[in-house]
């Protein structure tokens, strides 16, 4: 059977954006050759934000699973890295393995939390994050409130360490973006959106709702775990209260809602905005949090679809949209 129906071709704008993205990725990877240590550190943080925003958007924007407890995986990842390093694993392998081990916790958790209804799920995730944190604080290795440093990583030459962590962060961000692009353009994207829109009806057309939700949940957990290990790697010191802090959820919500929930590009734009706001107002302490709250409120009131919504209205179409458009011209040719 020959296939006559095709999706509308990728638009000129999207091709340009993908090209620009690739060029930017190359530039970022080469940056340690000429960038100052300060810039490298800051961009590492930006990469962490992008990974977090994309991960949270996969969960909330595409599968409709709003969680305020993703810091559970950020905090756990850091803890596992510490434990693995303590057990004698070299620091860089431990950073990677620590993130993967988080899946061993997320997987059984998913069986429980994904059966809950929307609001219960959101709250349950937060309660779980708090519960996991209190358990971990009992571990003498962590020393309760004091926290602990990843000493083996600290022993590595500072410049080398900075560059390596930065490159890991850039590579992870590229990976997370590429994987989510592929998944969302494919079958899983449609299935998760169907679940988001109407879970019962999704089941009635054959969507394996549990399998799809679990897949998205685990990918999102892994994304947060990667961000968690990167954050530990750049901070060196692990403090459970910070690693499991609710402010991670506040940041994720901010980035995704202000950037554009359920779009591909929105979370990246949201991450850029959060990063820029922190750069500009981070020194004002509590005031800067108030500022972030105000920006979020303004968007909720005047641009509920976020930055991407504003751009879409301007351009007439969403850049890098995940929408699968049937090429109606090919349809005419095919008939």
């Amino acid at each position: 059977m020959s296939h006559t129906h095709v999706l509308a071709a990728v638009s000129r704008l999207d091709k340009v954006l993908i090209g620009l993205g690739a060029a930017l990725a190359g530039l970022l990877l080469a940056l340690p050759l000429f960038g100052s240590p300060l810039i490298v550190d800051k961009l590492t943080l930006l990469m962490i934000y992008i990974i977090l925003a994309v991960s949270w958007n996969l969960l909330a924007g595409f599968a409709g699973l709003v969680s305020v407890g993703q810091q559970a995986f950020i905090g756990l990842a850091g803890y596992f890295v510490l434990r693995l390093a303590e057990a004698g694993m070299a620091p860089f392998p431990a950073l990677i393995a620590g993130a993967v081990v988080v899946l061993l916790v997320a997987w059984p958790l998913s069986w429980f939390v994904l059966r809950l209804k929307a609001a219960e799920f959101a709250v349950a995730m937060w309660v779980l994050a708090e519960a996991i944190r209190s358990v971990i604080m009992f571990d003498p290795l962590v020393q309760g409130e004091t926290g602990r440093s990843l000493v083996t990583l600290n022993a590595i030459d500072a410049d080398l360490r900075r560059t390596a962590i930065y490159l890991m962060a850039v590579a992870s961000a590229i990976l997370v973006l590429a994987v989510s692009y592929r998944l969302l353009r494919g079958r899983l994207g449609g299935e998760s959106q169907a679940i988001r829109d109407d879970e019962e009806a999704a089941g009635s057309v054959g969507v394996s709702t549990m399998r799809v939700k679990r897949t998205i949940f685990l990918i999102s957990a892994l994304g947060c775990a990667i961000a968690g290990t990167l954050w530990l790697a750049s901070a060196i010191t692990y403090q459970p209260r910070a690693a499991f802090g609710i402010n991670w959820s506040v940041f994720m919500l901010f980035m995704v809602l202000v950037g554009g929930l359920g779009s591909f590009l929105g979370p990246v734009l949201g991450a850029l905005l959060l990063f820029a706001l922190q750069e500009a107002f981070g020194d004002f302490g509590a005031w800067y949090l108030t500022g972030i709250g105000c920006v979020a409120m303004l968007f909720a009131l005047y641009a509920p679809r976020g930055i991407i919504g504003l751009i879409t209205d301007r351009l007439g179409r969403e850049p890098l949209s995940m929408r699968k458009e049937l090429d109606v011209r090919s349809e005419r040719r095919g008939r």
Binding site: H5, R187, V207
Partner: protein, 259 residues
């Protein structure tokens, strides 16, 4: 209960004389609080058959579909499909086996386009690969008259198009048995003729059809057997004309003219 062979085109595709029961429900009970929405309902459908389901409002017709399709579990009774027990199977499993339903009150995926709605059904329920699913979805859109709306957000469509979309999505899952719930309401005569042609083409392709419809003259053009329900029970079933003449059926319809 009399068994009628399905007439016309369907027979060209299947020459095995007595057809097997494909969908069977035994003594189903579904309670909502103290209400017995299904009160010991038995219901059997043979392969290739087209069965109509009628009955006054609140008779339990939609509840029967929901029970068959696995939208909610029944309190008592057993359901089997293609010889396999599905009483406790999930909706997606039942769909994968070949049982599709439409919703009386349409439930489109509002954040997706019409094409995407059908595409996801073709991929998930229809088990079609990427390119195959596109063809299947486009074909279904053309057959249901939705092609002009392919790239329109489902949220921007009206009730009639949403009903079409219900049918399109169900067909795209490539079912063996399709449960259609009041898809004809609100259509003009010309549109009804098109709908009947669509259902006839599904029949001709070998699909088994169960259709709940209040528009009797349309229903009777398609079905070979009629089941009448009232107050959670099956009042009568068999030859459509006979069923409509049945005194208990006429009583159930008292006040609401059967034609």
């Amino acid at each position: 209960m009399t068994q009628h062979p399905s007439p016309g085109t369907g027979d060209l595709h299947n020459d095995a004389p007595p057809r097997a029961v494909v969908l069977s429900a035994d003594r189903l009970v579904k309670r909502f609080g103290s209400l017995r929405a299904l009160d010991t309902v038995s219901f059997h459908v043979r392969d290739g058959e087209a069965v109509g389901v009628v009955g006054p409002n609140g008779a339990g017709k939609t509840t029967l579909f929901a029970a068959l399709a696995g939208t909610f579990p029944v309190n008592e009774g057993r359901i089997s499909f293609g010889g396999q027990a599905i009483t406790h199977a999930s909706a997606e499993t039942r769909n994968a086996l070949g049982l599709a339903r439409t919703y009386q009150v349409p439930r489109p995926f509002l954040g997706m386009t019409v094409f995407e709605n059908v595409l996801v059904a073709a991929q998930a329920g229809g088990g079609a690969g990427q390119a195959e699913a596109r063809d299947l979805a486009a074909d279904v859109l053309a057959r249901t008259g939705l092609m002009p709306l392919a790239n329109v957000p489902a949220a921007a469509t009206g009730l009639l198009d949403r009903k079409r979309l219900e049918v399109a999505r169900a067909i795209a899952t490539r079912p063996r048995v399709i449960l259609l719930d009041e898809i004809g309401g609100g259509l003009t005569e010309a549109e009804l003729v098109k709908l009947i042609a669509l259902i006839d083409s599904l029949k001709a392709a070998g699909l088994t059809i169960v259709w709940i419809e209040h528009i009797l003259h349309a229903l009777l053009k398609v079905v070979t057997r009629l089941v009448c329900m009232a107050e959670g029970r099956v009042l009568a079933e068999g030859d459509p004309q006979e069923v409509m003449k049945d005194p208990s059926v006429r009583r159930a319809y008292l006040g609401s003219d059967p034609e």
